[in-house]
Symmetry: C3
Subunit: 321 residues, 3 copies
């Protein structure tokens, strides 16, 4: 696994890539790989988390992340409960902590939380006993996405060290970008970001990324090109180019991709705005590993649910599964 024998995964909560060491990241991915084959079986279910209660507490709507966690949980036989903010008592004036304490009183083992405020998962963890997994907090972090992105790259490249990874788009509003930059950098990759100037925060260099003036510079010689999603909802904002302008100046298309390495991987956290961030031929092309990202997402989430519950995989990868 590349993890020393005296290594132990010691995190009860997953707040972000920030907290994970390189051995932690490698251990999550090794665990995820051993879980990945479960989803390829005829009977896609193991008893690992039988009798555990997992609450998906989503204050922002998300079909794909929520479904990915729900599938991960049920494949390990946990009981899952979806609580959406729009139907929750959040609208009745209850505070986040009150909501969480009330959920806690129902004895969940894990709360997977998405919230529009950065730091909401840490706030919950200070007040309740269940394990917390951050499924996206404001523009802060989205660690399961960062981990599945690393797993997907490592399926194709021997290691991240020495790779050039370009991240293109709305860095400023993207928790995916933050988790990716932190994670990729920890494993030794060089990360270059590019996008409209209003989308590139000054602080990004402190995370370990280099800001490129032009998309072409970021893609030049890249081993991985990650295109981020444009929030169409923000189209009224005068600071943001129109979708057509964006596609013209920042979209990843066949021509721009020719400057990358021949074995470049094209990635996107989804859902794709086809013809905006990615041209359709690139999205569906031989370099695209976008659907592998989704597949690995279930495996990474199985691993996180398992590990925060204290699971330890034996060396043959079968223990406890």
């Amino acid at each position: 696994m590349g993890v020393k024998s005296d290594y132990r995964f010691r995190h009860r909560h997953i707040f972000g890539m920030e907290q994970l060491s390189e051995p932690d990241i490698q251990h999550v991915i090794a665990t995820a790989r051993s879980f990945r084959e479960i989803s390829a079986r005829s009977i896609k279910k193991v008893p690992t988390l039988r009798g555990k209660t997992i609450v998906n507490l989503f204050f922002e709507p998300s079909t794909r992340t929520r479904t990915s966690f729900e599938i991960a949980a049920k494949r390990m036989s946990a009981d899952t409960f979806n609580i959406a903010a729009s139907t929750s008592s959040a609208t009745k004036g209850e505070t986040l902590v009150d909501t969480a304490r009330n959920i806690e009183a129902m004895s969940p083992d894990i709360i997977v939380v998405r919230h529009s405020c950065s730091g909401a998962p840490q706030l919950l963890a200070r007040h309740i006993a269940a394990s917390i997994i951050n499924a996206g907090d404001g523009a802060h972090e989205h660690p399961s996405q960062g981990l599945l992105d690393i797993m997907t790259i490592l399926d194709h490249k021997k290691e991240l060290a020495g790779l050039k990874i370009a991240i293109i788009g709305d860095i400023a509003h993207s928790r995916v970008a933050v988790s990716d930059i932190i994670g990729f950098s920890k494993l030794g990759a060089k990360v270059c970001v590019a996008g409209p100037a209003t989308f590139i925060p000054a602080a990004v260099e402190r995370l370990g990324a280099r800001v490129c003036h032009a998309v072409e510079d970021a893609i030049d010689g890249a081993d991985v090109v990650m295109a981020l999603r444009i929030q169409k909802e923000r189209q009224n904002d005068p600071l943001i180019p129109s979708l057509r302008e964006y596609a013209t100046y920042f979209g990843v298309n066949r021509r721009r991709l020719e400057q990358a390495k021949p074995d470049v991987l094209v990635m996107h956290p989804g859902p794709i705005n086809r013809g905006v961030e990615l041209s359709p031929d690139v999205a569906d092309g031989a370099s695209s590993v976008i659907l592998e990202q989704v597949r690995n997402g279930v495996a990474v989430r199985m691993a996180l649910l398992y590990l925060v519950m204290g699971g330890e995989k034996s060396d043959d990868g079968q223990g406890g599964v």
Copy 2:
């Protein structure tokens, strides 16, 4: 079963009654009958589809069809996931095929899909590996409804061959009508349709139905009277009569039903607008088999989920269950 011993159900997808042969239809119903008794047991659960992942992907809201599929799936121990279009990334500009490919990457075995576009299920099946079951596509087909209607009639009549079946109402906008007309005709019934002229498309005769000028002509001597639901949502359309006019001229009431056979079956796909399509005494009367339709719906959907996964029932109806 009335099915020859060398018969095999060979469909991996269920798009419509159009694709099913008479032996297919008989086999689905024989399978559904063997599953029906499970719902009458104290422990309503068999391990048939344990570890299978079934996604209900509904781009149009539907409590009853979705719940019926969900109950069918859970009674066979499958894991089910409900994805509603209103909360899905469909609203984020993702195409249907992108949505489906992303779901596919999570390794579902079956996707049950409802969509406002005719042909959406076939489109999905061309792009992804999971089995597809059409739970209603535009005004095209709703095959599980067609099958449960046939099952319900066969519970009371020896065969469909030779029966006169009247279908009353909004034929033009009804996928139920299409699936019923195709299925009933394949099994040898004579189908007569009647309703407001603006509700009767010219093409209906090509499906095998005869158009009657008046409701009375359709009901005269009928063995089965199927009333379709009026979409109240369409009440602003000037082509459509008011609900009161509809009830007066096209509603199935006691007086009109006297012209049918004495052992006529009254059916409706639900939900009923009481006092519009059916008078309350007819809806709740001795001839009504409307709740049997709902009951058979769960059994037919269990059979479809089972059969698209390659199930084969042994002759005693117990195999694999």
Copy 3:
């Protein structure tokens, strides 16, 4: 248990505290106590209701009551189905009874129903075969809340007989208040209600409560203080004080609580409007048992689901579990 040996719980439906005898209430709570420890186990699941179908039919939104019933059901291995009115065919003009009959045709064992009309659960029970549990009907009753409140008090006090219990707030619109007043009175407590005059219905004395002129009178010497939730949605009503006025004149704060017994229990059915019905220091203070109420809610609902299915616990509290 304080229940005679020839006692049997004979209710197939739970409509309200009104129908339950004192031995019934004691039996539900004894059963709930034996179930409570399941939620504290590492594997929170027993096979008690395996293969049972439980439908949560909610015509009014409720995250916490619905989730509490859903967790209770899944901890006993039942299959649960959530049907929300906003997505149900209720909006398509179907009557409540039609909706219920259609659900019944899918063979549920228990329907947990919340509806804005008083008496809806009884109406359902007259027309369908499944057991009905009232999860709140109009301003009538909310019996599982009444039972969990009694359970919580009995965890701290030897018996209810002789206790003084103050209920503060919007008595007129509160089904919690009704179930509490009936239940507390049956077990011998003296209940005093207080609140804005427009919130105190004349009929409350017929339920067994005494109306106090001032909050201070109700709290004076109380063993339990139950604060009810103010419906912020009603803030446009001129009969209702503003939230600030309410907090000033009727809010339970440290100063007012000093008039209660030293070992007073502070309760609230949740969700709390902090700073309105309860000051934050009181809500989170040593006297507060609000989260115990939530915890006991799961146990009481497990007991109710179990008992309406005909379960009988053996004397050691282990039978059937």
